[in-house]
C-alpha cells in the first residue's frame, strides 16, 4: 500500500495522471481502485490544507451622486452613448476639474460607518496612463492623502465572527467604456461613465478564503446601499473588485508573492476566481516553481484566471503626482459632525427597530435586512396595517419567492405596499383565506396590478362569506342531510366534525369563512345533545 501511494504522489506530478490511473485500474480489483482514489483525494486535500490563502481586496463602489466626480455632467447609468458628456468630460483643452461635494460627503459617510479616520486635508493625485477611454490621459484619484484611513468591517462566515481591517478608502473617477464587439474594424468609446465617482475600499490582507471574500463584498454592498451612497447594482457594474491573492504554508507569517486579478464583477466570481487562483498557485509551488507577481484576469465562462501583464517585464508606471488643478479639500470637525448626524440608519440599528418596535424574530429581521429596499417596503406596508407579523411573512415568503422565480428586485415589484396591506387586511377581516390570498389572488394580482385585490378576489369567486346568518342556513342544511352522522357524532364520534366541515365547504364552494362555519357546526351539533 505504501509503495502504491508513493507511486501515486509521483504520478500526481505529471499530467498523464488520469490516463495512467485508468490504465492501472485494469490490473487492480475494484476495491483497490477505490482505495487508491480515496488516497489520492486525501493527498490532494492534504496538499491544499498545507497552505493558507491570503487575500486582500480593492473594492470599487460607484457612487449614486447625480453628477460626476469632477464636473456637472449627469452620472446616471444607462443613457444613450456619449450623451452625458461636456467639454470637461471629454478633456477639452483648458478645462479644469472641481470636486463634487456630495461625493466627498458620501466618502465620509462610508468612512464613519466603517470606523475610519477621516483625513482633514484630503488631496487628489494623478495616475497617468494612456487609454482610449481615459480622456485626460490620467485618472484623478487619491494616493498620498486618501479621504479615509483604517477602519474595519465585521463579517460572519460559518457562524464565526471575523474582523477585516481596512487599509484606506479613496475617492476617484471611473473611466469611460471601450466597446470592441460592435464594429469589426473600430473600437467604440462611450464616455458617459468617464468621471463617475468611485470609492475604492482597500482591505488589509485579512481574508483567507473565497467564501470570506464573498461575504465581505456582500456585507459591504449591503452597507453602501443602507448608506444610500451607491445602488450596489452588480449588473450595472456599480461594484467591481480587484483581488490580490497569495498563498503560504500554514504557520508562515511572511506573505507570499501575490497575483492581482483585475475587474471581477460579482461576488460569486470573486469567490470562484480566488479559489481557482489559490489552487493554481499551490500547483505551481508544489511543482517546485515560484509565483511571479503579475496581473491576471478572470474568465467567468471557463472559471480560469489568465495572465495579462507580467509586472517585472512590463510594469505600468503610473507616475503618480499631486493633482495641481485641485486644491486640498479641508474637512472640519463641524462638517464631519454634520455628516454623522445626517447618516441614514445602519443595518444593526434597523434590526433593533424591527425586533423591538415591530416584534419580528431574529430570522425574519435578518431576511428583510438582506435588502435595504425590502426593509423600506416592509415599513411602507406597516403604514397601512398593524399586522406586522403578517407583513413580514408576506415579504419573506410569498413576495420573495415570486421575485426570485422571476429574477426581479423589490423595486421592480409591480404591487404597492398598500396593495399588500390590503390583502393582509382582507385575510384579517376573514374576507379571504390566507391560502386563497397567497396562492390564488396574489399570482393574478401581479399580472394585473391595477385591479384592486377585493375586486379580483370577487372575480375569482374567492370572497368568503362571514355572514353568520347565511352560513347558519347552510350548516342547518348539511346537518339535516346527514341524520345518521349527526347521531354518530352525538354518540361520541367527534371526529366526524371534519366531515361536516368538508361538506359545508364543498356546498359553499369554499367561500364561507371556515372559522365561523366551524363554530356554528360545533354549536349546533353539541347543543342538540
Amino acid at each position: 500500500m505504501l509503495r502504491h501511494s508513493a507511486y501515486f504522489t509521483a504520478l500526481i506530478e505529471t499530467k498523464i495522471f488520469r490516463r495512467t490511473f485508468t490504465f492501472y485500474s485494469f490490473h487492480v480489483p475494484k476495491s483497490v481502485n477505490f482505495a487508491l482514489r480515496l488516497i489520492y483525494s486525501l493527498l490532494h486535500f492534504a496538499r491544499l490544507m498545507k497552505y493558507e490563502t491570503v487575500i486582500g481586496l480593492e473594492v470599487h463602489v460607484q457612487l449614486n451622486t447625480k453628477s460626476k466626480a469632477f464636473c456637472g455632467d449627469a452620472a446616471a447609468y444607462g443613457a444613450a452613448p456619449n450623451t452625458h458628456i461636456s467639454a470637461i468630460s471629454m478633456a477639452h483643452p483648458g478645462t479644469l476639474p472641481r470636486v463634487n461635494e456630495r461625493a466627498i460627503e458620501y466618502a465620509v459617510r462610508l468612512g464613519l460607518a466603517l470606523g475610519c479616520d477621516i483625513t482633514r486635508d484630503t488631496r487628489f493625485d494623478r495616475k497617468n496612463y494612456f487609454y482610449a477611454d481615459s480622456p485626460k490621459g490620467f485618472q484623478t484619484t487619491q494616493d498620498s492623502h486618501p479621504i479615509c484611513v483604517g477602519g474595519k468591517l465585521d463579517i460572519e462566515v460559518g457562524g464565526e465572527q471575523k474582523t477585516i481591517r481596512l487599509h484606506h478608502i479613496h475617492l476617484e473617477e471611473d473611466a469611460g467604456k471601450s466597446i470592441h464587439d460592435i464594429n469589426p474594424k473600430h473600437s467604440l468609446i462611450d464616455l458617459n461613465r468617464a468621471g463617475v465617482p468611485l470609492l475604492e475600499i482597500v482591505t488589509e490582507p485579512d481574508l483567507r478564503s473565497g467564501e470570506e471574500a464573498y461575504v465581505f463584498i456582500t456585507e459591504l454592498r449591503k452597507l453602501v446601499r443602507y448608506l444610500d451612497i451607491s445602488d450596489g447594482n452588480m449588473q450595472e457594474g456599480s461594484i467591481r473588485c480587484d483581488c490580490n491573492i497569495s498563498i503560504r504554508p500554514k504557520g508562515e507569517t511572511k506573505l507570499g508573492t501575490r497575483c492581482e486579478i483585475k475587474n471581477v464583477n460579482s461576488m460569486r466570481n470573486a469567490k470562484r476566481a480566488i479559489e481557482y487562483e489559490a489552487k493554481r498557485q499551490i500547483k505551481v509551488i508544489e511543482k517546485g516553481g515560484t509565483i511571479d507577481q503579475e496581473t491576471r484576469s478572470f474568465d467567468a465562462q471557463v472559471g480560469h484566471t489568465n495572465n495579462v501583464l507580467r509586472s517585472k517585464e512590463n510594469a505600468h508606471d503610473y507616475r503618480y503626482f499631486p493633482e495641481p488643478d485641485l486644491s486640498p479639500v479641508l474637512l472640519t470637525d463641524e462638517y464631519i459632525d454634520t455628516v454623522q448626524k445626517n447618516m441614514p440608519k445602519l443595518p444593526n440599528e434597523i434590526k433593533q427597530e424591527l425586533q423591538l418596535v415591530y416584534g419580528l424574530s431574529d430570522y425574519d429581521a435578518n431576511v428583510l435586512l438582506e435588502d435595504k429596499d425590502m426593509v423600506f417596503f416592509y415599513k411602507e406596508i406597516t403604514q397601512h396595517t398593524k399586522n406586522y407579523k403578517a407583513a413580514a411573512n408576506w415579504l419573506t415568503n410569498v413576495i420573495k419567492s415570486y421575485l426570485n422565480e422571476n429574477n426581479l428586485s423589490i423595486d421592480q415589484f409591480a404591487l404597492s405596499p398598500k396593495t399588500i396591506a390590503n390583502l393582509i387586511g382582507m385575510v384579517d377581516d376573514n374576507k379571504l383565506s390566507n391560502a386563497a390570498a397567497s396562492q390564488k389572488v396574489f399570482p393574478e394580482l401581479v399580472k394585473q396590478p391595477d385591479t384592486s385585490p377585493l375586486e379580483l378576489a370577487g372575480q375569482l369567486n374567492l370572497l368568503q362569506d362571514s355572514d353568520a346568518g347565511s352560513i347558519e342556513a347552510l350548516v342547518d342544511r348539511i346537518i339535516a342531510k346527514f341524520p345518521d352522522k349527526v347521531k354518530a357524532y352525538r354518540n361520541g364520534k367527534k371526529g366526524l366534525l371534519g366531515m361536516f366541515m368538508g361538506e359545508v365547504m364543498k356546498a359553499s364552494g369554499g367561500k364561507v369563512n371556515p372559522k365561523v362555519a366551524n363554530q356554528l357546526l360545533r354549536e349546533k351539533l353539541d347543543n342538540k345533545t
Partner: protein
C-alpha cells in the same frame, strides 16, 4: 478724422490709454467702428511681424457697430471696458473660435466654451480682435517654437519678441490693439514685455481663473496682461480677477479696485539680490541701468537694500523639473482620439498615439514631455520630482521671509535684451537659463510686473521687474504707476 498710414501712428501715440479713448468716444470725436478700422489697418501693415494667427475682423467690426449703437442709445449702460480692443494668446478658449496653442496637434480645433477671464472682459464690452502667435503650448522664450513660424520684434525685426506670449506682446507694441492677454508660467508675459518695452503683469497664482487657459504647468500658469500703461493693465486685472467656480485653485479673496487705487505716496522698502545683479549671465548694460535705477529710487527716498538669496541657481533646474512633470501629464489629453490632429495612417490605438503625437507636437514640446515623464518615473521620482518640490518649498519660504520685511523685490526681468532670431534654438539649456529672474514669481505664486526701464545701448527696450507679496497687486500696481511717472519725468 484720424488717419493712420505711417508705421508710427499719430492717433495711437497721442491717445494710448483707455481713459483717453473713452473720453474721445463719449465726446463723439471718434467711434469704436473707427478705432477698430484703424487697428485692422495696423494689423494689415504689420503682417510681416507674424503677430496674429487669426484676425476676427468681421466679428470685431460687427461688435464695434453694436457697441457704438449701445453708446448712442443707452449711454449709461456701457461696460467699463467700452473702447478696449484686445488680442488674446492662442492658448485661451473663446467659444466658436479656433484655439491651437500654435501646435499642429490642435489643427482645426474649435473651442466649445469661453475662458472665464475672456468671458468677464466681453461682459464689460471689450472687443477681441484676434488670437496671437506664441510658443507651442507656451513652451519657449522666443516665440520661435510655433507651428505658424516666429513672431518678430517690432523694435527690430531681426530680434525675437521673447516668449512664450511673443505675439501678444508685439500686438500691443505695434499698436494693433490696446491690450493683450498672455499666459505666464515662468516669465512668458514679463520677458516679452521687457523685450518689447511694455507693461507686463503676472498676477498672484489664483487671482485670475485658469478655466479656459490651455494648461502648460497647472501650479505655475497664470493669465497675464500686456499694455502700454499701468492703469489699463490694472483695470483689466480688476475685471478678470476673482473667484471662479470652474477653477478650484482660483482665490476667494475679494478683488480690490486696482484701477482706482493707484497713488503710491509711501516710501517703499525694496529688496534686491546681489546674486541676481551680479550674476555671470547678466548683460553689463542691463546691470548698469538696473543699478542706476536703484540709485534713482534711493534718491527719491525709498529704502533699497541688497538681501541674501542663496537659491538663485537652483531656481531654473527645479522649475524645469516641476513644470515638465506637470506638462507631461497635462498634454496627455492630446492623443488624437477625441479632437485635434489624428495621423491619417494610424491603424491601431498605439499607432494613433505614436504617430499623432510624434507629428502633432514640436520638438521642444516633446522634449519637455519626455523630460517630465522621466522625472516622474519610478526610481527617479525622489531624485528629481520630490527634490524639486523641496527646493520649491525652500524658495517659497525664503521669498515669504523677504517679503515680510520688504514691500517689493526688484530685479531685472531678463539678463539680456531681445535675442537674435535663431540664437537660442540650438541650445535649449541656454534658453532655459534666460528665465533666471522671472521663474521665482511662478515658483512662489507671488505677483510680478515688468515695467519699461529704458533703452539698451543696442537700441532695444529693456525692463525692470517688481514682485510683491501674495495678493498685494494693489500696492504693486500703485508703485508701478509711480515708477511709470518717474520714468516719464526722466525722459
Amino acid at each position: 478724422m484720424l488717419f493712420c498710414t505711417q508705421k508710427k501712428c499719430v492717433f495711437f501715440q497721442n491717445v494710448n490709454t483707455l481713459q483717453h479713448i473713452q473720453a474721445n468716444l463719449k465726446a463723439g470725436q471718434t467711434t469704436l467702428t473707427n478705432i477698430v478700422e484703424q487697428y485692422l489697418v495696423r494689423i494689415e501693415e504689420t503682417q510681416d511681424l507674424n503677430v496674429y494667427v487669426e484676425v476676427f475682423a468681421a466679428e470685431a467690426r460687427q461688435r464695434a457697430a453694436e457697441l457704438d449703437r449701445k453708446l448712442a442709445e443707452t449711454p449709461n449702460q456701457i461696460g467699463r471696458l467700452f473702447g478696449v480692443v484686445l488680442s488674446i494668446k492662442d492658448v485661451l478658449c473663446y467659444k466658436g473660435h479656433k484655439v491651437t496653442a500654435a501646435s499642429k496637434i490642435l489643427e482645426g480645433f474649435e473651442s466649445l466654451y469661453t475662458a472665464t477671464a475672456v468671458e468677464r472682459l466681453l461682459a464689460e464690452d471689450a472687443i477681441i480682435i484676434g488670437r496671437t502667435n506664441c510658443d507651442q503650448f507656451a513652451m519657449g522664450s522666443t516665440n520661435e517654437n510655433s507651428v505658424y513660424g516666429p513672431t518678430l520684434n517690432a523694435a527690430d525685426p531681426t530680434k525675437v519678441p521673447g516668449g512664450s506670449s511673443g505675439g501678444s506682446a508685439v500686438s500691443v507694441q505695434a499698436d494693433t490693439c490696446l491690450l493683450s492677454l498672455g499666459s505666464d508660467t515662468g516669465g512668458s508675459v514679463r520677458q516679452p514685455a521687457a523685450f518689447c518695452g511694455l507693461v507686463g503683469l503676472k498676477p498672484t497664482y489664483g487671482r485670475i481663473s485658469r478655466y479656459g487657459l490651455l494648461a502648460y504647468a497647472s501650479s505655475f500658469d497664470q493669465i497675464g496682461i500686456f499694455g502700454k500703461s499701468v492703469e489699463d493693465v490694472a483695470l483689466l486685472l480688476e475685471i478678470m480677477a476673482g473667484e471662479d467656480k470652474m477653477d478650484s485653485t482660483s482665490s476667494r479673496k475679494a478683488v480690490e479696485a486696482y484701477a482706482i487705487h493707484t497713488d503710491y505716496t509711501k516710501k517703499a522698502k525694496i529688496a534686491y539680490f546681489d546674486t541676481a545683479i551680479n550674476h555671470t549671465s547678466i548683460d553689463p548694460d542691463i546691470r548698469q541701468q538696473t543699478l542706476a535705477f536703484i540709485d534713482r529710487l534711493k534718491a527719491d527716498g525709498h529704502r533699497v537694500e541688497a538681501v541674501d538669496f542663496p537659491y538663485l541657481d537652483y531656481i531654473i533646474p527645479a522649475y524645469y523639473v516641476l513644470t515638465t512633470a506637470e506638462a507631461s501629464s497635462n498634454l496627455s489629453r492630446y492623443d488624437g482620439i477625441r479632437y485635434g490632429y489624428r495621423h491619417p495612417e494610424a491603424g491601431t490605438l498605439q499607432e494613433t498615439y505614436e504617430k499623432s503625437r510624434s507629428e502633432g507636437f514640436s520638438k521642444e514640446v516633446k522634449r519637455r514631455i519626455m523630460l517630465g515623464t522621466f522625472v516622474l518615473s519610478a526610481g527617479y521620482y525622489d531624485a528629481y520630482y520630490a527634490k524639486a518640490q523641496k527646493v520649491r518649498r525652500l524658495i517659497q519660504d525664503k521669498t515669504k521671509e523677504i517679503l515680510s520685511e520688504y514691500d517689493f523685490i526688484l530685479m531685472p526681468t531678463s539678463p539680456s535684451p531681445a535675442f537674435d532670431l535663431g540664437e537660442k534654438t540650438k541650445d535649449p539649456v541656454a534658453m532655459y537659463l534666460a528665465d533666471i529672474y522671472t521663474v521665482q514669481a511662478n515658483m512662489t505664486g507671488i505677483p510680478a510686473i515688468n515695467l519699461p526701464l529704458g533703452t539698451h545701448k543696442s537700441g532695444l527696450p529693456i525692463g525692470i521687474q517688481l514682485m510683491a507679496n501674495m495678493f498685494e497687486e494693489a500696492d504693486l500696481l500703485a508703485f508701478s504707476k509711480y515708477i511709470e511717472q518717474l520714468n516719464r519725468q526722466q525722459v
